[in-house]
């Protein structure tokens, strides 16, 4: 703030009291005596004095010029000049007012010190210079003399001008150029007074000008800075304030601002600070510097910053306090917002477990927060300059260091706008840790472009370990998944394949990409829709495991498919696990076993026959052997002379006995050939035929025998023993095949038919073979056979089986050629018989 000197201007009063003969403004009266001249001069002085007392600053120059003209005329001078030396050009005088009576050489606008050194010195000392004649100048004024001569000056009177007793600021020079003239003391004194008047006026003008300028500057400054100027009068306790100040405080332009008024505006909590600051300034001379809140009339709150200082009277009393205030609400709000934002940031960083840092590469400083120190293990002592940065870099794992440095360089060069890196860090206390690091360049600040970065670090060792564990668990799972030999597919609810194991990939022989995404049945069964009994569909509906055996034509393998549901957390079915196991081998083994078992049964039956025939042979051979030997003995005896007839008779008796025995054996045989224990079950006849035909299928094919099975599957089941009936059917079919052995292949057909007669089922096996003997019943006798290897017991056994079933077995000739063997069996009752 500019210093404002509001000093009062004393106007000197003229000392000469003029009499009644004073005639003001009568300059035009011709001088007829010295007294008149003096009177005119005094009048001029009075006139000028009163005029210049209240002269507005703007008129001063004009009036001085006019005054000079009047003086010049009155005193018959030629050249009057006001010289002033300016602060800005200390070594020279500036001509400010000049009046010349007539044409003539005019002094230059500026004269330097060298032109009038002696005069200058005199004036500076406050002496009046009276020069009546240039010749009278002392030798040290030779230069002055020279200059004067050049200017045509003959006589000169120079009066120093000073204001308020201060050093001279200029000179008033009166010169003659026509002739020399005398300067009497009285005149000089009067002229001195005049000069003083002019000086005061000029000083006043300058002061006013200065004041105005200064006021204007201040006004400009305050207007542009939006500050409000105020002055507190210490005695009255009233504030003077500029328009801006009033606006800031919400006062109207003409309100009186008393101390109480002001206090009422200030926020009660802040008043003490304001009061204290004012007191300190007033009492101790300290500057006022206080920030406080005010409350406007409309309830709004503003933050104000006030600065000022106290002006003291020369006596040391506080006179005024002057200062400026401005509205810092925005700044305060911004500060508050910044603080809040910083607090949030800190909280955020803290919650996230992050360590925060800033580095100013240009300034060579860095800031680390406590969390960063902890995470990176930076000792508390390491804080100077960029030492923490170096410490950190040293502890980054050597293998990871270079790439990190490259990233940093890219960041500094602006190639990337942020770093996000994970690297290994050798913590001094905790050993190897994994760090996740984010960094950015600080935006350009008001101080210009500079390399400053900030960032956060986080210890992710546990996370990484978990990730690694997860990874290895996933790999382990995958390995296990792939090591299972069964084919596993994970399906979604639409039966699309989501995941497969290695076994599945091998099975399909397709790349994984072709398998995943396909619909299960398309790949597996080659159909676009689920097959009958699709286990996936069943599982989706029932939510339970489902199985199905299928034959996969593409690979020629038997598979058992097993599906289980996959549920989400809510328990809904979202997919299925589909497992396919290759059971081809198992099935083959099963089939082989079954075949073996069947063969065994077959063989057992055959063996029974052979066993039967073995014991049979033995049983019969005994009596036969006896008969033979006896007979041969008899033959020998009869050849003797004389024959021993008695002995022969004895022999014959024995022979008959033996024969009877043989008969008994055969009789017993029938009993032996009875089926033994049978259990009657309801059996579908077709099933029995199917079993037997399956058994001898290869045999029949070899013999080129075609079986035409015309059995109705809807016939009621008969009551029978499965094994015995199989034996029966087997015998009949084999007999039929044997009968056709001599036929051409086209005529080796066996027809199997069945009819229901009330409660009995009549089944026939017809062949196109050699037909029956005339005595049909002979067929069913033991040892009747037309086969070279045959025992002739087959049909005997069949009869006994049928008898055990309460059925009938007989044979008829076939009209078209060949034979028809029929057997009749009762149908099964609804209640089982045992």
């Amino acid at each position: 703030m500019a210093r404002c000197q509001l000093s009062s201007i004393e106007v000197g009063r003229p000392k000469i009291v003029l009499g009644s003969r004073l005639r003001i403004g009568m300059e035009n009266i011709e001088p007829n005596s010295e007294l008149e001249e003096r009177l005119r001069f005094e009048t001029l002085i009075v006139d000028l004095s009163s005029k210049f007392v209240n002269l507005p600053a703007d008129d001063v120059d004009r009036e001085i010029m006019d005054a000079q003209r009047r003086i010049c005329k009155l005193l018959d001078l030629d050249l009057l000049a006001f010289w002033q030396w300016r602060d800005e050009a200390p070594g020279s005088f500036t001509l400010t007012h000049l009046y010349s009576a007539k044409e003539g050489p005019l002094p230059p606008g500026q004269l330097s010190q060298e032109d009038f050194p002696w005069v200058r010195k005199q004036l500076a000392a406050g002496h009046i210079v009276v020069v009546v004649s240039l010749d009278k100048l002392p030798p040290e004024a030779s230069r002055d003399q020279e200059t004067s001569r050049q200017l045509g000056i003959k006589s000169n009177l120079s009066l120093p001008l000073s204001v308020g007793g201060g050093p001279p600021i200029g000179a008033f020079c009166l010169n003659t150029t026509r002739a020399e003239r005398d300067w009497p003391d009285a005149l000089v004194k009067r002229l001195q007074l005049l000069a003083q008047i002019f000086t005061n006026a000029l000083a006043r003008k300058r002061a006013e000008k200065d004041l105005r300028e200064s006021e204007e500057r201040l006004s400009l400054a305050t207007a542009s800075a939006e500050v409000g100027l105020w002055v507190l009068d210490c005695r009255t306790g009233v504030f003077w304030a500029t328009e801006e100040a009033r606006a800031i405080f919400g006062y109207s332009p003409d309100e009186i601002i008393s101390m109480e008024h002001f206090k009422a505006s200030v926020h009660p909590e802040d008043w003490c600070f304001v009061q204290e600051s004012l007191d300190r300034s007033v009492l101790a001379g300290e500057s006022v510097n206080v920030e406080y809140r005010i409350r406007l009339r409309d309830g709004r709150t503003r933050w104000i910053s006030s600065r000022g200082r106290t002006c003291f009277t020369p006596g040391g009393e506080a006179d005024r306090v002057m200062g400026v205030s401005n509205d810092i609400t925005n700044r305060k709000n911004a500060e508050e917002a910044l603080r809040a934002s910083e607090a949030r940031l800190a909280a955020g960083i803290d919650l996230a477990g992050l360590g925060y840092y800033e580095v100013d590469y240009d300034g060579g400083t860095c800031f680390l927060d406590d969390r960063f120190r902890d995470i990176c293990g930076v000792p508390p002592g390491v804080i100077q300059g960029l030492q923490p940065l170096e410490f950190w870099l040293e502890h980054v794992h050597p293998d990871d260091r270079q790439s990190l440095l490259d990233e940093r360089q890219n960041l500094h060069d602006g190639k990337i706008d942020r770093i996000s890196a994970e690297y290994r860090y050798l913590h001094p206390a905790r050993g190897l840790r994994w760090i996740h690091h984010l960094a950015r360049m600080a935006v350009l600040s008001a101080t210009g472009p500079g390399v400053r970065t900030f960032g956060v670090v986080r210890d992710i060792t546990e996370t990484r370990q978990l990730a690694e564990q997860l990874q290895s668990a996933a790999e382990e799972w995958q390995t296990t998944f792939d090591s299972i030999n069964d084919q596993i597919m994970i399906l979604n609810r639409e039966s699309r394949i989501l995941r497969v194991n290695a076994a599945t990939v091998r099975f399909f022989g397709l790349p994984v990409e072709r398998i995943v995404g396909s619909v299960c049945c398309t790949l597996l069964h080659g159909t676009g829709y689920p097959i009958d009994g699709c286990p996936c569909q069943k599982t989706f509906q029932s939510g339970l495991n489902s199985r199905l055996e299928v034959f996969h034509a593409g690979s020629g393998k038997w598979l058992v498919l097993s599906t289980d549901p996959i549920r989400n957390a809510a328990g809904d079915i979202i997919g299925a696990v589909h497992v396919a196991r290759d059971i081809t081998e198992a099935k083959r083994a099963e089939r082989e076993t079954q075949e073996l078992r069947d063969n065994l049964i077959h063989l057992t039956r055959v063996n029974t026959m052979s066993v039967l025939s073995g014991s049979l042979a033995h049983e019969l051979n005994q009596p036969l052997g006896i008969i033979l030997t006896n007979a041969q003995a008899a033959q020998d005896l009869l050849l003797q002379e004389p024959p021993d007839v008695a002995e022969v008779q004895s022999i014959l008796t024995d022979i008959v006995a033996a024969d009877r025995r043989a008969g008994e054996v055969i009789g017993r045989l029938r009993v032996l050939l009875k089926p033994g224990h049978i259990s009657l079950q309801p059996l579908p006849l077709k099933e029995i035929f199917d079993d037997v035909l399956r058994l001898i299928n290869a045999d029949l094919i070899g013999r080129a025998v075609k079986v035409v099975c015309e059995l109705d599957p809807n016939l009621p089941p008969i009551a029978g023993d499965r094994v015995q009936l199989q034996q029966l059917v087997l015998n009949l079919i084999l007999n039929g095949a044997d009968a056709m052995a001599a036929n051409e292949p086209a005529r080796r057909r066996l027809f199997i038919r069945s009819e229901l007669h009330k409660d009995r089922l009549c089944t026939s096996v017809q062949d196109e073979g050699c037909g029956l003997p005339t005595n049909v019943e002979q067929l069913f006798q033991p040892f009747y056979t037309t086969k070279t290897q045959g025992l002739g017991m087959g049909l005997v056994i069949c009869r006994s089986i049928i008898d055990a079933h309460q059925g009938r077995l007989w044979a008829e000739p076939r009209p078209e050629g060949g034979a028809v063997f029929c057997f009749e069996l009762p149908i099964a009752e609804s209640t089982e018989e045992r």
Binding site: Q622, G625, A633, D636
Partner: protein, 205 residues
């Protein structure tokens, strides 16, 4: 009464069969004796007669083969003719391996039976003679003194009298004396015969 001097034993658990076989063989002038059990047979059997045995293998198995073993064990050289039924081949093979003379299948053919019996009796006779001879030789051997027996052994080993004397620790003259006695007792004239006799008796092996 018998044609070739031998007894035909018949052993079959079927009495009718035994009867029939006896009739047949007697009609052919063989001396036939029949039994239905092993025990009764063994009670009646006399080894001094040359004989053969017609044995039904289809008898309770153990008894038939057991008998054969028993006989072999006893050192009874009785030729056995096995009669086999249908399906007894494994048994028959065993029997043959064990030393049966012949086997016939049922029903037995008369001619075949007679032939087999004749052969068997001849074999029996030869065996009997052989056995008798051996018995005689054994008796002679038993009459040797201990010293003479030793000398015999060394002589048939091919040693000279001198050597024998040295080995036995006696004089050569004594050896000569013993040697003469041995020859006499054993009833041989030459060294070669002595050696053969020794071989038959199983000495010097």
């Amino acid at each position: 009464m018998s044609t070739s001097g031998g007894i035909v034993y018949i052993l079959d658990d079927e009495p009718e069969m035994v009867k029939a076989l006896m009739r047949l063989l007697r009609a052919r002038r063989f001396e036939a004796r029949g039994f239905t059990s092993v025990r009764t047979f063994l009670e009646a059997y006399r080894p001094e007669n040359s004989a053969c045995l017609v044995l039904d293998v289809a008898m309770p198995e153990l008894e038939g083969l057991e008998l054969q073993r028993h006989l072999t064990h006893q050192g009874i050289l009785l030729p056995i003719i096995f009669v086999t039924g249908h399906g007894d081949i494994p048994m028959s093979v065993r029997a043959i391996k064990a030393g049966a003379t012949d086997f016939l299948t049922k029903p037995v053919d008369a001619a075949a039976l007679v032939q087999a019996v004749r052969t068997a009796l001849q074999v029996a006779e030869i065996q009997r003679r052989e056995a008798a001879e051996i018995a005689a030789l054994k008796a002679r051997l038993a009459s040797l003194t201990l010293r003479q027996l030793e000398v015999l052994k060394h002589v048939v080993a091919g040693q000279l009298n001198k050597q024998i004397a040295f080995d036995l620790g006696t004089g050569e003259q004594n050896v000569k004396l013993h040697r003469a006695q041995v020859m006499k007792k054993m009833g041989v004239d030459s060294l070669a015969d002595l050696v053969r006799v020794a071989e038959r008796l199983g000495i010097g092996k």
